[in-house]
Symmetry: C2
Subunit: 341 residues, 2 copies
């Protein structure tokens, strides 16, 4: 058993094929952090931290947080429960940094044992639902071009939440009859959301994600009562403790590692949401195939998948899980199964 884990972190400059814009502006820094934990035998566990400006994180704040968490590094990577608990107690928030460390430890454990993470978790990757591909806010012309480029993906996720919502839906529906899901990223008021519902129904939108600002749980409950399609909480649901207050108010939750800060917390969130009969979605940030693959190992447990973060990139530095044709394909290598391109 290795006594020490050596931590290295490196900023990755990611580029999206198109500028990625959502209701509250550009979503991410497009720089993420590649975390590597190396044990004495030279085995490496990898993880990715996708800093979220929305949660006050930057690549620099992730590096600072990692500098704190390094003091709580386990001597044994299998000591997952206590290590993750120690980290969140030592320094709260900073979920992206902790998610990267969590992924790296799980990667290392899988590599030590020689099995993919999904097998350690007892899961069958064939059970993964198909992933959506996201069409960000843009001009009509560019949205048409994006829909065309997304020809291989059977389900599109449409970003709304501005005064162009009707026009965007019309533009996309003119271009395709694919299944559409909508994500307003908290861009609507209750009144606006309820007024949007007939339009969403007219355009056969099947899922509505985060119509209202995160803290408006009563508003979410009102939208859910009025909506025929399931309403999913994203920004309103970061960790397990956010789930009980959402019970009966939304139909499901969107789990992201960059929000919950841990692969184990993600598994707990699945269990808690299921216990309350809620739908479970797994989503992502703009991140490379490294971060996407960590989340992809959860997909056999969920109902809805939105793991297009790496598919939106033009310079993905890693090879891992893919969503070609919307089909989530998990790599077969041990641990996360990710390698550098």
């Amino acid at each position: 058993m290795s006594q020490h884990l050596h931590l290295e972190a490196e900023i990755l400059d990611l580029r999206t094929t198109h500028p990625f814009v959502i209701a509250r502006g550009g979503q991410s820094d497009d720089r993420t952090i590649w975390v590597r934990l190396r044990d004495r035998d030279g085995l490496e566990g990898w993880g990715e931290a996708a800093a979220s400006r929305y949660y006050g994180e930057t690549p620099e704040s992730v590096l600072s947080a990692l500098n704190v968490y390094v003091s709580g590094m386990p001597t044994d990577p299998f000591d997952l429960e206590d290590t993750e608990r120690r980290w969140v107690t030592t320094l709260g928030r900073n979920a992206a940094a902790r998610a990267a460390l969590s992924a790296a430890l799980h990667d290392l454990v899988g590599k030590r044992l020689g099995v993919p993470l999904y097998r350690l978790w007892g899961l069958d990757p064939a059970k993964a639902p198909r992933s959506t591909f996201t069409i960000g806010l843009d001009t009509d012309e560019r949205i048409r071009a994006k829909v065309h480029e997304a020809v291989e993906y059977p389900i599109l996720k449409v970003k709304l939440g501005t005064d162009r919502d009707r026009r965007i839906l019309e533009t996309i529906r003119e271009a395709t009859d694919k299944e559409l899901r909508v994500d307003a990223n908290g861009g609507w008021t209750v009144k606006r959301a309820i007024r949007m519902l007939p339009l969403l129904e007219e355009f056969n939108v099947t899922v509505l994600e985060q119509p209202l600002p995160p803290s408006d749980l009563e508003g979410l409950a009102a939208v859910t009562r009025h909506a025929r399609m399931p309403v999913i909480a994203d920004e309103s649901c970061l960790t397990v403790e956010d789930i009980p207050p959402l019970v009966g108010k939304v139909d499901g939750i969107n789990i992201k590692l960059a929000k919950c800060g841990s692969l184990r917390e993600a598994l707990r969130m699945v269990a808690v949401a299921r216990a309350h009969g809620m739908l479970v979605m797994v989503g992502c940030m703009i991140e490379s195939s490294l971060g996407i693959t960590a989340a992809a190992h959860l997909t056999p447990l969920v109902d809805l998948v939105d793991l297009d973060g790496a598919a939106l990139l033009s310079n993905d530095p890693f090879v891992g899980a893919t969503i070609a044709g919307g089909h989530v394909a998990l790599p077969e290598g041990p641990g996360l199964g990710v390698r550098a391109r």
Copy 2:
């Protein structure tokens, strides 16, 4: 990868040191089923089914259920999620039989990988709370003798629920000043339970388990409101789906593999109870060290442990987890880590 798992099942005749009696009579058959799954390489995974008459199970019904479940055996023991789901869909109830199969699969997976189950789960066995040792219903004289015999155990669990409750508490308190927890096994009415509370406080009882019949959730809520010590649901809480209705009505739940039918379900129950701020206890039936060890791997995740099933036996056929001095000691072998004596 082995393509077939061969199932063998054998009845174990267990003997308790003393006749074991609780509020609703003799608790168990004292016969359990030893389940063995053997793969093509000759590796064996073991589990134990403790049939519960209270849930309509007998050793014979367990054998019949195993005969049904054998048709849903996985070709790959790592396929835990889907296999367990298939079993419960194929034939519900019969939790004891499914728990034995679940334990056997987990044992086999751990042995294939060469690591103890607690390590697969990322847990530190040093985090396990101390286990109680149970004093069943008996005459004053024999209760005194039992308390004397239990000298090594720092916490006693006292079975109540008859008209001798006060006498039993007095007898035990005369004999020891140890921490006492009480389990009424559903033997009280609301009125009786609330009337018992001052007596329990007088005798410094620290935990009250299942004061009322399982379905009386409103009654449990009333007792919990009146009680100074935490109230734990046992017979009221079999699986994850029983937890949401108990939120706000009791302070915690007692997880038993023979009730929930799966090690994975037990982990989910921990997550769900924790999400609602509930205490988590892990308990057992009268069963050998094989069944006890499967449950013992959960102990680093819980607050309260009652795993004395094998310690109450005079002819335990296995060597595994122990509770000497109340200290839960997990074996270091791969999988469950249990061997035949």
